[in-house]
């Protein structure tokens, strides 16, 4: 049967629109909502939205029982363990499973011949260290792990590449590749004429910057529990997208989509690495089918750090050109990114086209496939690493021009969406800079440095203390945060007057349930505890997209509000009948239907109680974004650091962050995410780096001890702030995303502060003591 014609000019309620995800643009058919509520403007009088409501699932999380996948215990559940490759490239010549099979308690072992090809499991061609080779299932996790260690693998080793340079010299690093370049060639994006602008530039600077490969390292590893009931499969999965996992599983196993149910009631962090089903999902489902019992496959920590995604490292060479007065005239980037065996996402180039106003911009990204595990989106993929190069180069330009780094940034604010030549729905980056500068004391920083130095000397008694240098840095961010369709919400009133808010979304730890409840309670005129969010189950809630790209609130909140307005309309009609008045005479407040200008009222429970099993419901959907304006969150962060020039240790003393993200539904939850992004950015700046032995091709630090993440002891004073306001042009709730913007400026702000403290740049992250000392001795690498 031929495919149906591609519907370009779909008519009526179903139209084609553009949606941005993680810096990519996608065309989608969307349904126009049946009605569009009046936007909540900046001055809307709201009760629940904007309030510091307590996280609804806080009590469950503080008692250890919110329902993580790793804690699912089904009757007679068995446990799987994955056997992984221990070298970067080769061909398996012998797989000896005998010892594993005979271990007491082992139930099953599977290899390539036992799995559907669409799962892509257990390829005998090894293309990276950590690649799954086989899997074992046993009655306990300990036995499964022990049996996995008994599998003997014989491999013919093959030449490999783990750096871009190696990849460009070597033949294809895996089958079905013509060469190792992602997309077959470097990705070049240019606006204006960079060569011409560079040729007539008044001032230019060039810098080379390196950023490390960073690992997501969520505390809950990737995991799935699978259980079959006849030909129906239920999968509990720690995921950022229950509907996407459902799709992945059905396709990989070749079973109908409607036979798969995916559940995620709580998950222990994702940060971009949990957007798809993975080998663990398919392994659990296949064992569960073969054995006729529930099977859990929890990736162990080494596997988690080896093979569940990463932010690839980057090498960036940046040339900036400007007028003597500090107007940017050209931005030129050349970048090299070893992405692993797959998983391409946005590279560092995008932010170079967006953050600063500049007529001539060119980015040349050479992304290469190499024999390391596939990359995955990691909180602001591309932007987090691109901003490091761009901001370091901008600081160099400021120094060259003799202009204050903040003043140079203020001169070059992009007030329009330059990539698409259109305005933004809102962008108050200038206010973010000003407010941030005020909070950190930017303009008094030289005096503060002197005072700190005097205090340190006094404390240490005289000459001591001179080795502690203080510095200040600033960096900014832009990130598309409009969210978009498709995204649905259903609301139903229960007989006791409470309302269920149902959406096929999930909570990564961001507070999705709380946000949904706040928006629904607001639009219903309900109390917050009269509303219950039902998420994380494809069987009980309509479609919502992945929680990625800082999209959840911007996508979901308008659908929730519309569903609530729809349900409220029915509730008022029902109440009007009971009170023998017109619905127009009624309003709702705090769980009561009130008659205007009288003291007559009914509680929601009285209305629904009288209705009996007549159910009040509401339907909501997310309409398309405005196509003639870009929707972004912007912000500025400032860092104050102290560098010990004797030990090379960098201590971040303070981060000030000010962002413009439209309306903030819950300031407490927003601040939590902002602090979290800043702390991950601090880790990226100072500690985090997956080290590879380029000679052996092996990752060297795949545990949480050797891969250094920030701990309690590393945390500076964080002053995180969102500008008041709303963005009613973006959507009728006035919201934009916040999760990824938080991480983008932190590392470059810290790098700028370190350079300010030392008077010497350190242009390779992380800023470890040996790199700092090396830079001080004129040898930064």
């Amino acid at each position: 049967m031929a495919d149906p014609p591609k519907s370009k000019g779909t008519k009526g309620r179903f139209i084609t629109t553009t949606v941005e995800v993680e810096g990519r643009t996608e065309q989608r058919v969307v349904e126009l909502p049946a009605f569009e509520p009046e936007p909540w403007g900046a001055d809307a009088q709201l009760t629940h939205v904007g309030a510091r409501a307590i996280r609804i699932d806080g009590p469950l999380k503080t008692t250890g029982r919110p329902g993580y996948t790793t804690d699912v215990r089904r009757p007679n559940q068995a446990y799987a363990s994955i056997v992984r490759a221990t070298l970067p490239r080769g061909r398996i010549t012998l797989l000896d499973l005998g010892a594993a099979r005979t271990l007491l308690g082992v139930l099953d072992v599977i290899v390539a011949a036992d799995v559907p090809s669409r799962t892509r499991l257990f390829n005998p061609e090894i293309t990276y260290t950590g690649q799954p080779i086989a899997a074992v299932c046993a009655t306990t996790q300990a036995i499964a792990d022990a049996a996995a260690r008994l599998v003997r693998v014989t491999v013919d080793a093959l030449p490999f590449a783990v750096t871009v340079e190696q990849a460009l010299e070597l033949g294809p690093v895996r089958a079905r590749l013509e060469n190792n370049l992602v997309g077959g060639a470097p990705l070049i994006v240019e606006r204006g004429n960079v060569d011409a602008a560079l040729a007539r530039a008044e001032v230019t600077v060039t810098r080379e910057v390196r950023t490390p490969c960073a690992l997501h390292s969520a505390m809950e590893p990737h995991c799935a529990v699978a259980e079959w009931d006849g030909d129906h499969l239920t999968v509990w999965e720690s995921t950022q997208g229950i509907y996407r996992v459902r799709d992945n599983v059905a396709k990989a196993l070749g079973i109908p989509l409607t036979n798969v149910r995916v559940i995620c009631q709580a998950m222990g962090g994702g940060f971009g690495a949990k957007n798809l089903a993975g080998p663990h999902t398919y392994i659990a489902a296949i064992f569960a089918q073969r054995l006729g019992r529930a099977v859990a496959c929890v990736v162990d920590r080494a596997g988690e750090q080896l093979d569940t995604g990463n932010r690839p490292s980057s090498w960036q060479r940046i040339t900036l050109a400007a007028t003597r007065a500090g107007q940017l005239t050209a931005i030129d980037l050349e970048a090299r990114i070893p992405i692993g065996v797959g998983g391409a996402e946005g590279g560092p180039g995008n932010i170079y086209h967006e953050l600063y106003a500049c007529p001539n911009v060119r980015t040349r990204e050479t992304s290469a496939f190499v024999n390391t595990a596939a990359m995955a989106a990691f909180r602001a993929p591309g932007h987090a690493e691109g901003s490091v190069g761009l901001e370091i180069a901008l600081n160099a330009l400021a120094l060259e021009l003799g202009i204050d780094p903040l003043a140079l940034r203020l001169k070059n604010i992009a007030t329009r969406d330059q990539k698409k030549d259109r305005p933004y729905t809102g962008n108050r980056l200038d206010e973010c800079y000003e407010e941030g500068a005020r909070r950190i004391g930017w303009h008094e920083r030289e005096a503060s440095k002197g005072a700190a130095l005097r205090a340190a000397s006094a404390q240490a008694g005289g000459a001591r203390g001179q080795h502690l240098k203080r510095g200040y840095g600033v960096a900014a961010q832009v990130w598309s945060t409009g969210g978009g369709p498709p995204c649905y919400c259903n609301i139903r009133f229960n007989i006791d007057g409470t309302a269920d808010v149902m959406a096929g979304s999930q909570d990564l730890g961001t507070g999705t349930r709380t946000i949904l409840a706040q928006v629904a309670a607001e639009a219903l005129g309900h109390s917050l505890d009269g509303v219950r969010a039902v998420i994380g189950d494809t069987a009980s809630a309509p479609y919502a997209g992945n929680s990625w790209g800082s999209m959840t609130v911007a996508s979901l909140a308008p659908a929730v509000r519309m569903a609530a307005e729809d349900a409220r309309r029915s509730l008022l009609e029902a109440a009007a009948g009971l009170l023998s008045v017109s619905p127009n005479d009624l309003e709702t407040r705090n769980g009561r239907v009130m008659m205007r200008d009288t003291d007559r009222s009914l509680s929601f429970a009285e209305v629904t109680g009288k209705l009996g099993n007549v159910m009040i419901q509401g339907q909501g959907s997310r309409g398309p974004n405005p196509q003639d304006a870009g929707i972004v969150t912007t912000g500025a962060q400032f860092a104050e650091v102290e560098v010990d020039t004797e030990t090379g240790v960098v201590r971040v003393l303070r981060i000030v962050a000010v962002h413009d993200a439209g309306r903030i539904v819950n300031p407490t939850l927003a601040e939590s995410q902002l602090e979290g992004g800043i702390i991950q950015g601090l880790g990226f700046a100072l500690f985090e780096e997956r080290r590879l032995d380029a000679r052996l091709g092996l990752p060297l630090n795949v545990g949480l001890h050797d891969y250094k993440m920030p701990t309690h002891a590393d945390i500076p004073v964080i002053d995180g702030h969102f500008l008041d306001g709303a963005d009613p042009t973006a959507n009728h709730v006035g919201v934009r995303g916040i999760a990824e913007p938080a991480i983008i400026p932190t590392a470059p702000a810290i790098a700028g502060a370190v350079a300010d403290a030392l008077g010497v740049e350190v242009n390779e992250l992380p800023l470890t003591p040996w790199r700092v000392l090396g830079a001080l001795r004129g040898n930064p690498r």
């Binding site: 469950l60 939850l669 002891a713």
Partner: protein, 156 residues
């Protein structure tokens, strides 16, 4: 072997190699204590043994014979939280919540020893507990808030 878990006497027939974490999560179904690294690198499995915080993944169950083990299930319940749990909720000190039981147990041990910890005391006591969501500032605030609440209760 016999031991006390959350004030209940437990008799367990387990192998010598069984860790305290396996005993809790697999044998007894007490899944509140989390397994995140299983090699003593993250602190998510922190429990108290005779009041002392230990990594349950590095502790052999038999080594706890005759001792009193306290886990997150031994603190308050959702409807009746203890002061620390209450403060964690009030300060939003749990994002994804996966490290939270370990943080709470380490904090419980701290408050038993030090009724009025400074920020630095909290940081020192909890630095073996990683949090990838970056909830650290709010955890410190929550522990100090709970300490203040408990001091008021004691003296009030």
């Amino acid at each position: 072997m016999n031991l006390s878990i959350n004030s209940q006497l437990v008799a367990a027939d387990i192998e010598g190699s069984t860790t305290l974490l396996e005993l809790l999560r697999e044998t007894l179904g007490l899944t509140g204590t989390k397994r995140a690294c299983d090699i003593g690198e993250c602190g998510a499995c922190t429990v108290l043994v005779d009041g002392r915080p230990v990594y349950a993944c590095l502790t052999l169950a038999h080594a706890c014979a005759g001792q009193a083990v306290r886990t997150i299930e031994g603190l308050g319940a959702p409807g009746a939280p203890d002061a620390l749990q209450d403060a964690f909720v009030a300060e939003d000190a749990a994002q994804c919540g996966f490290c939270t039981p370990g943080q709470l147990m380490a904090a419980t041990a701290l408050l038993a020893e030090n009724a009025d910890p400074s920020d630095a005391d909290v940081v020192a006591a909890l630095s073996g507990n990683l949090c990838r969501c970056g909830t650290y500032p709010k955890i410190v605030r929550a522990v100090r808030r709970a300490a203040a609440t408990l001091r008021t209760q004691t003296h009030g």
